[in-house]
Amino acid sequence: MASRSRDATGNAAERELLSAGDVARTVARMAHQVIEKTAVGADTEPPVLLGIPTRGAPLAARLAERISEFSGVTVPHGSIDITLYRDDLRHRPTRPLEHTRMPSSGIDDKIVILVDDVLFSGRSIRAALDALRDQGRPKAVQLAVLVDRGHRELPIRADYVGKNVPTARSEDVSVLLSEIDGRDAVLLRPAAEEGQS
């Protein structure tokens, strides 16, 4: 599945870490893990999946769909914007806000699973935990990420990892999702001009 190519702008080689098929299989596997770990079933309270925009949101929706498909239980999902909780606001241009959409069932006393595309420094997750605290008091919070690329700067780890990818700090991991990017893939690019986390 690893292939080298040039993108449209002719930049240096990028490597495809996951193909569209791999992404689908990975999400399906993560769904099975969530079902097992949180004991999704008829007689337990289902977890709530909250995606971190932008790409965590459609990922949470897909994961919820797979879980419902495999377990027969409808799992509520939504999104939680972390922009106002970031610790790097001062050092970046003003960011537009993303959508926060809480499931109507709320999050109090539920198991909340935060969903993001790439786990890197862990700072986004820290911001998400702060944002979550202002929304309610979950029974427990877990983390699901499609790609864990290492280089943590905070004591944070994921409960569900689609793929572990050893990377250099300067490299750039991009998750593409058809809802936003028109196709599914995970790409590794050597040192982009400006990092995206």
Partner: protein, 311 residues
Amino acid sequence: MRHLLAAEGLDRDTATELLDTAAGLKQTLLGREVRKLPTLRGRTVITMFYESSTRTRVSFELAGKWMSADVINVSAGGSSVGKGESLRDTALTLTAAGADCVIIRHPASGAAHRLAHWLSDTPAAVVNAGDGMHEHPTQALLDAATLRERLGSLDGRRIGIVGDVLHSRVARSNVHLLTCLGAEVVIVAPPTLLPSGIDSWPVTVSHEIDAELPSLDAVMMLRVQAERMHGGFFPSAREYAISYGLSEARAALLPEHAVILHPGPMLRGMEIASRVADAPNALVTDQVANGVHVRMAVLYHLLASEGADGV
């Protein structure tokens, strides 16, 4: 965006971004028990009000506090603090003490621009909270936010501004902002309450309120500003109310979907009938609520990011 001094000159992208941020903030805070965001922690905002105000000052103070900024209010306490040197010195002192943002309301037109000029060597941002008969940009932004909520896009919408346009900074700011967002503005006022140079404004002018109401998507009633009137602008309050007040009969001329705005404070029975002000399509309280979110958005865009250029 370094300062927010006027609606005139705001480009459509910046205005839309501010309004989108305000809508996002409103949605974020909706139904929450704790209305507090950590975004501007450690930032100091000073409000300097040289003119009486309830809603604008409270609104800015709440906006700052809900984003965790430290907000300090300085008021002139009557008229002892005038213009010129003292305003400059006060502002320089406050920024030297560490203010990141100065919000100013002043009876002199152009005061906010002067202040921004004086503070150009400091990192402090200046927000105009109303300067004389010039501009009140955050009022226009909250009016636009309220209209967007009810009408969707403002493109091609016909919005009437009725009353004392001459003395109204709200009207001036709204004309610039609403036309920049694609709306068509109709000014309805007696000839004595129109500013000179209105010909150059991007608006239609009318003196007949009854003729305009049926075609409006929204009507904004302005307060008659007795405190700025020195001389006879109209024969009597009663005659003004009869010719230009939004009575119940007049409100019935509006299309069904049309909404009524008033920047407050309202003079019930003067420019707006009491029952019209309390009708479901009068959005006066929505305007106040949106005011906080709009001002949060302004502070966010001015203060959240430093170094890199925002908006």
